[in-house]
């Protein structure tokens, strides 16, 4: 076999002799490989971005809500109907924790979708302003489940959540939730700064469920906060800004809620520039406290929601079915009775966002199938514009690789002519045809590998640039780099074959006489 190592310096020296032509050939290959890397990075980026978007939008989230206000219709909930509404509700947050009216189930005729503080609660509290109801509970007035609006329809417990986590396959995180409206005050502030907001009693894993979150200051609730029902609070970005001003770090400050003191331990914000926190939204105009603390202070024992994430979007349907079966069994619901909870998969809702209308209609009209689709299949149908660009970049890559290859061939033919005497000499000294061919092939491969490495560097830089300036997602994987090197290698060999053949077929006598 030809040993390339001793020939390597020779090949380099030969390339340096024609450095201008070599540079041109390298540039051709570089552009080709860079275009190749960039197009592959964009293609891969689009795929990843879609996956990320789906996860960030909560496509793998299933929300189980206490109660089932449709019960009085005498039918089990039609999940498609539920989801169908939500899917095209522009304002809908991906993780619907909107309060549902639980009492309705037990008071037929009660208006569906009515005020959750109506009816029964009015009899307990005499205040007219429903917003004030929970703000100053005296110890003796602390609400039981019934009075807190959870009612007897508040069917979910932390035990349910625990068993779900343990027994349902395909479940990644399970988070219990109690959701209230609450007024929080800055403690010890003379002007009594306050903000009326959403209160979520939750658990330490919530940030894992909210893929779009970033903990911008401090930390989120810890498992021990939950175990000890600590009086600590994580603020949504909007609440932090309203109470303490933008850019001020509120961690360590004290707030009061229900006349109890809570220490601020962190702030959550949005990771995505597309979903900026706004007043009134459910995630960032909100405060988070341990679910156990809400239970303790309000004397509650049940949950409004249990939020579950699945390991992949495609498993949502199967996981939802397992959850329904398990909860029905745990709640002792007979065949004839409807569920006392609602399971909502967020996949369709998440998918519905940001789709072109005709595609959204297709998704909406084919809901049952959507969850069977894989992310890859979806990306195929969603990235048409992307593909146009990829085809363009791909053609640029192909053309520049071709031009680069011609450059390499041209340079080598020049080199063969210049070094005819040398080739003749080497043959006289005992070089076989294959030795001569290998030497020129090595030069071609060396040339295109240099171009390949430069091309990868430029491709990575270009992908990064596209990402930071245009917010296109581009991902250069090791596989992409490997493919680019392979492409350069093949290009070098293909471009080198003809010159190498020419060199190896030189007749030594004439070659030695060549001037």
């Amino acid at each position: 076999m030809f040993n390339p190592l001793p020939a390597l310096p020779m090949a380099l020296a030969a390339l340096l002799r024609n450095r201008n032509q070599a540079a041109l050939a390298v540039i051709g290959v570089t552009i080709g490989v860079a275009a190749l890397v960039t197009s592959m990075a964009l293609g891969r980026g689009a795929q990843n971005a879609l996956n990320d978007q789906l996860l960030a939008a909560g496509a793998n989230v299933i929300v189980i809500t206490s109660g089932n206000y449709r019960m009085d219709r005498g039918a089990r909930p039609d999940p498609e109907a539920t989801i169908g509404h939500a899917a095209f509700d522009a304002g809908a947050l991906p993780t619907v924790v909107r309060p549902r009216l639980m009492l309705a189930a037990y008071s037929p005729g009660f208006p569906v979708g009515g005020n959750r503080f109506g009816g029964l609660l009015r009899q307990v509290h005499e205040e007219d302003d429903p917003m004030e109801m929970h703000d100053h509970p005296l110890a003796k007035e602390r609400l039981g489940d019934m009075a807190a609006g959870l009612g007897s329809a508040a069917t979910l417990t932390r035990d349910d959540a625990r068993v779900l986590a343990e027994q349902v396959k395909g479940v990644k995180f399970v988070v219990s939730g109690v959701h209230e409206n609450a007024r929080v005050f800055v403690a010890d502030s003379p002007e009594k700064r306050q903000w009326f907001t959403r209160l979520h009693g939750t658990e330490a894993d919530l940030p894992q469920v909210r893929a779009g979150w970033v903990i911008s200051r401090g930390r989120f609730l810890s498992p021990s906060d939950v175990d000890q029902s600590a009086q600590v609070m994580v603020l949504g970005r909007v609440v932090a800004d309203r109470l303490f001003g933008e850019g001020v770090d509120p961690t360590g400050k004290t707030l009061t809620l229900w006349n109890q003191r809570f220490q601020v331990i962190g702030v959550v914000g949005s990771k995505s520039w597309a979903a900026q926190p706004v007043a009134g939204d459910d995630q960032f105009d909100a405060v988070y406290v341990p679910v156990t603390t809400v239970h303790r202070l309000l004397n509650l024992g049940k949950l409004n929601t249990v939020t579950v994430t699945t390991t992949s979007v495609g498993e949502n349907a199967a996981v939802a079915k397992q959850i329904i079966d398990l909860l029905r069994e745990r709640h002792g619901i007979s065949e004839a009775e409807p569920d006392d909870f609602i399971v909502t998969s967020m996949a369709k809702q998440a998918l519905g966002k940001g789709l072109p209308p005709e595609l959204a209609r297709a998704v909406g009209g084919n809901l049952e199938r959507v969850e069977e689709l894989t992310v890859e299949q979806l990306s195929g149908s969603l990235s048409r514009a992307n593909q146009t660009m990829l085809v363009m970049l791909g053609s640029v890559a192909a053309v520049s690789l071709l031009v680069g290859g011609i450059g390499v061939t041209n340079l080598l033919l020049l080199s063969v002519t210049q070094r005819t005497r040398e080739v003749g000499l080497r043959i006289a000294l005992g070089a076989r045809q294959s030795d001569i061919a290998a030497q020129f092939l090595l030069e071609a491969v060396l040339l295109s590998l240099i171009g390949g490495v430069l091309g990868i560097a430029i491709g990575v830089a270009a992908s990064g640039g596209l990402e930071s300036f245009f917010h296109w997602s581009a991902t250069v994987s090791p596989l992409t780099a490997l493919a680019a090197i392979a492409a350069a290698l093949v290009l070098g060999i293909v471009a080198g074959v003809y010159p190498a053949r020419r060199a190896s077929e030189l007749r030594p006598i004439e070659a030695l006489r060549h001037e």
Partner: protein, 252 residues
Amino acid sequence: MPVVSLQNLKKIYKLGDNDVHALRGVSLDVEAGEFVAIIGPSGSGKSTMMHILGCLDRPTEGKYLLNGVDVSGLSADDLAEIRNRQIGFVFQGFNLLARTSALENVEVPLLYSRPVIPPADRRARAGKALQAIGLGDRTDHHPNQLSGGQQQRVAIARALVNEPTLILADEPTGNLDSATSIEVMRILQELRARRNITIILITHEAEIAAYATRIVAVRDGVIISDTPNEPKSLLDDAPAAPMAAAARAASA
């Protein structure tokens, strides 16, 4: 057994519509340790002979036995190996690789030897060959840093590095002045005397041919005379005197 045996060798080139008879039946035996000068004017066919002797070309007719082996039937790769192992070439134009050190130039034949010679061995052998022709202190010099005589000595070292049985020197002094020419001839004489290497020299100068032990005159593709010669010896009377020292003295 003769080192070289040419038997009724003919070579016909096609040049356009005409056949050119470069060799018209040449027979020649060269024994080991002979120093043969092939002399003749240009167009006499001596270069064609040289190419066939060097396995760079094949005869149209006739046989060429090298160390008893008929090379006319061998494959291209086998011929490459014979050139590599059994024949050392010295050219008129030196044919050194530019921008390449003397040592690396001498290493070139070793690059093509099979089995593969490890780099360290290659360097060692090339260094020894340069030492033997008195250029041990010039190993890192590039051809453009060497005089014509030194360059031809590097070429001789290259021819010697694989320890061939036959050295083919094609007008080795053609590009050299007379003093350096004599120096090159002295080295060739020394190689013959010390190592018993067979040398075939091609030249058109009678003064150069005078250093050989046998003179073969060629004209129009046939041998017209083949006579033994009492060579003009350039060797020191004391054979112990190292060749390298003498070479340094001459090149200084």
